[in-house]
Symmetry: C2
Subunit: 403 residues, 2 copies
Amino acid sequence: MSHLKKVQGGVCTAHEFVAGGISCDIKGEGKDRVDLALVYSLRNSVAAATFTTNQVKAAPVKVSMKYMNSRNIRAVILNSGNANACTGKQGFDDAVSMTKTAAEALNLQSQQVLVCSTGRIGVPMPMGKITLKISSLASVLSREGGEIAARAIMTSDTHPKESARELQMNGVSVRVGGMAKGAGMINPNMATMLCVITTDATISLSVLRKALSEAVEHSFNRITIDGDMSTNDTVIVLANGASGGPSIRANSAEYAMFLEALHSVCLDLARMIVLDGEGVSKFVEVEVRGAVNHTEARSAAEAVANSILLKCAWAGNDPNWGRIMDALGYSGAKIEEDRIDIFLDQLPMVIGGVAGPTPLANLRQVASGKAFRIGIDLKLGGGRYAALTTDLTEEYVRLNLGE
Amino acid sequence: MSHLKKVQGGVCTAHEFVAGGISCDIKGEGKDRVDLALVYSLRNSVAAATFTTNQVKAAPVKVSMKYMNSRNIRAVILNSGNANACTGKQGFDDAVSMTKTAAEALNLQSQQVLVCSTGRIGVPMPMGKITLKISSLASVLSREGGEIAARAIMTSDTHPKESARELQMNGVSVRVGGMAKGAGMINPNMATMLCVITTDATISLSVLRKALSEAVEHSFNRITIDGDMSTNDTVIVLANGASGGPSIRANSAEYAMFLEALHSVCLDLARMIVLDGEGVSKFVEVEVRGAVNHTEARSAAEAVANSILLKCAWAGNDPNWGRIMDALGYSGAKIEEDRIDIFLDQLPMVIGGVAGPTPLANLRQVASGKAFRIGIDLKLGGGRYAALTTDLTEEYVRLNLGE
């Protein structure tokens, strides 16, 4: 029997976490949909996070980054409808104010509350509406509030995204659960990926940081849809020790178990992000091996995963290996054309840089599926990397034509 | 009166060049369209060229690169319908064979004939058809054959692309003319840019190389449509001295005049390439200034010019400066968010990193045009770069769905 089990739930699956969502009409459309979320640990907790590497960082990212050195971070306030990005000094003050109001309602210090926003860029936050609602929201947090919180951070997402795991660690049940938003980067103003994960594992800040970094590297960082990172991208994990499980030390067997659970939740959420969105019809994994090193494997995989022409071809069920060779050639990774093998799922598509033995009809059949894998072997070294991507459909363009 | 004049014509505008085109049915569709072209200098000439930087190089590129050190290069044989790329040893032999057959017909050595191909990748060349027709083609070359040659290299291009200039140099008329193909990189299998330019200027090989390099850097190298270089991209210039004009020395006044003419022809052809293609509705110039240096200006301009989401937004007449900020942020170029100014044509769209004073309606009006310019000032240094790009329409995707 496996020690790891998939379970229903999200940010409230781990013990002693509560959450909720409320409607503020942040977008100003007069619609009654939840757009403000709060996640809160009932006991002391530690938080690790990764933020966008974009040099243009939204105000909530700047504020949360500043707070990351605080002790005992216990809550995250999140909103959709407005990214609070490119909003200058006022935007920064507004993000601080969100943490302050939430902290007051929860009897915490501002620095114990992180903040995330997603939505339109360059529009001032309607703080009048938000400030009033934060206190109401704090008073309705519950163990059942995970799903409504996941709904409150949706933008063009077609469904809330949650995932959870339960693992047995030395006879004790430990839980990891999370929520995310991001929908195939459908809307140019709403391309943000946000994720909050909670766990009742007993883990130090330094070990939690290490685990998050490893889990994100092999999940969210593999999602390449438009080749860019938005101004607001944030992944946060809070750990509160409420499971009463053993303290997880770096490089221990318990660490490996915890990392597997955390990575599984991250990968579930990353896959949901890729597959969501009306403009996406296929999920494509591009796996490069045999590159000179890891960095070059990544360049090669990302060049293939980001090729506009390939993404269009996939939408038309066309495997188009010529365009894959082309992308490998301009990727910057070292290649030797006549060594390259390319597989579509298990079918040899290119062998030694020229057409492989598989009939085109068979390749097209695989490329017609909802998901397939392109395996590329450069045969030069030990570098490996897998990128997750999608096709590019006419509907995608239609949805992105702007306001 | 200017020394430089735009004139009708292409590869036969310069004196003592002849050209022609013929139908071979290289694609095997049974259609009677010209698909094989030959350009030939009636007197001794020198040739300079730039080739794709893609590590996957088509066989004709490999062969032409190998021949570039030969003396007295006098002809170029070109075909559409098949790229002769990813075709292994046989492809290389086929490309050599094309030069050999053309050379025999013209009483030259193989190494005096360059070769270019464009079309499908990974399909063997139908040499039986081609070899037979090369001799027939060589016998019908004429001073009037420029346009049919330009037609013979078209793939998804909607019209042949030719441009020419005549300049007065110390009382002597000197001509530069050329042809190109490439159509907004519409078809995944036909994304190649080919260009042949001829001139009757009197110029040494080393000076011609320098001029071509400068002219290409500020024209074809600025075209960024899919962010990639195809396996077959080639620009060739042949100079035969038939004008009887003065010998052009590096850095002389004559050099400056010649470079202006050559650059004008290259820029005309580059613009035609960008604007052609049914999937393109807008021509967008992205000009970055104030970057730390030239390389960073280029990274910044290309990140903006290649953003899928921005290209979709432009198709919908949406100026979307938030997405421009986002692209600048992930471009790798150093930026300081609160220094950035962005202009749409002359309208201030972003000032100091936040929304500028121009009403959205006015910005949308400019973005609704067939062509506009995005001017970005990073205010950090003297680096400048301009990229030429297009929007991304639903029609583009439809045309790229594959076979």
